[in-house]
Symmetry: C2
DNA sequence: AAACTATTCAACATAATTATTGAATGGCAT
DNA sequence: ATGCCATTCAATAATTATGTTGAATAGTTT
């Protein structure tokens, strides 16, 4: 344990990964990239960052192994390549959610009031989909839907959801999902659906978690 | 997503947890506290930090929910209270190990050369312990052993291992473990045991992982 | 080859983190 | 109460992170 031991150097590398997770903009980018591959300027506008700044964040995350990139024509596309990264982000969210007092307030004050009912678990939704008893609604933007979604899911981005309501069968429960457990789209969609008389709940988390757990995707 | 949305604030909290993981000294402290509860000055000397500095690191980790503390007489004792934190640290190590190129070099250059054989998995060790075919060696310091260890394990801190060698049966395999997958003690112990003619391997990870996976402890 | 475009780099100002020092707090024991 | 000890706080200096700007690069398209 004297001077920089090999073990301490390892821990220094691990700490670099931690540092890379230590910025909210980067966590937003990570969530976006958990949905699908995206180019730098695409990400920059989605995360409301300058291109140069987004590029720097991306470079850092690639350096510590959270992301990989490839060239496609004029664009450089980044993505999350390692399922272990999704585990890591999920674990981070879990600890954050459970333990940070202020987070509890935000979760309680904003999210819970829009979702009196408990969310649906992946297993439960999977079972009810087999029985054909449920309408599955993907409320993410169309591009993310196209890059992969739950089987039988209907894409209904929030802005267009109101128009699509008439096409949904009223006699079936609706389960809405989006990017992940803290994605506001699903909460808003459930609120809107209930206003219009639907029996609606949200999936406990989002598409990346569904896919990572080995359940089928289209 | 306009201005500080509730979701972005949540991500800011998550990022604070990430930041707390973004320092190698704090990761060392976390590993120590994954073994057992410890006081501030105890930790400070174990991690080779000043007391004031250790106190600051501990306060930060407590703030974001990685640690909790309680008073015991004149001392304040810190510990890891939430199993989700162990998951998080494990996920961090996994990503770091898999993806950071320099880590691979360190692992390859230092650890692997001391451990030609593959480590033993928890399941394998558990099975062989049931069959009574193996000597289990806990090479952590005595205080950590006393706070909890694998059933039937013999405590042999590295410094005393050489003296204890004569008491170990030579006809049985030895499996050594310590604090976690990157704890040097187990590597050193295996090297020493092999020098003395034992058939020795190390457990793939350490005591906290064993305990967290629900296996029995003494 | 030239013009174009997406991305990265470099330099900078600002802000945050880190470790140190020494002082302050607040239980505990005499 | 008084002194003692472990811990925390406050102030500081050095280091590192962040986001902007504008320029450089490198690959594509015309």
């Amino acid at each position: 344990m004297s001077s920089p031991s090999p073990k301490f150097e390892l821990f220094t590398r691990f700490a670099e990964v931690g540092k890379a997770l230590g910025n909210s903009h980067r966590l937003v980018i990570l969530e976006l990239l958990a949905q699908r591959e995206r180019s730098v300027d695409d990400l920059a506008s989605a995360a409301r960052l300058s291109v140069a700044n987004a590029s720097q964040h991306l470079r850092l995350m690639r350096k510590v192994g959270l992301l990989v990139s490839r060239r496609n024509g004029a664009h450089i596309l980044y993505r999350v390549n390692d399922p272990a990264v999704l585990d890591l982000v999920a674990a981070l969210h879990r600890v954050g959610e459970r333990n940070v007092a202020e987070v509890r307030e935000i979760v309680g004050g904003y999210f819970r009031e829009r979702d009196a009912l408990e969310p649906v678990s992946r297993q439960e939704l999977s079972r009810r989909m087999r029985d054909g008893l449920v309408t599955v609604l993907d409320v993410r933007p169309e591009d993310e839907f196209d890059a992969g979604h739950l089987p039988q899911a209907i894409n209904a981005p929030l802005r267009e959801l109101e128009k699509q309501l008439r096409d949904l069968p009223k006699d079936r429960d609706v389960v809405a999902y989006c990017r992940g457990p803290y994605c506001v789209f699903a909460f808003e969609a459930v609120a809107l659906l209930r206003q219009h008389g639907f029996s609606a709940r949200r999936l406990e988390d989002g598409f990346p978690e569904w896919k990572a757990s080995g359940l089928p995707v289209d």
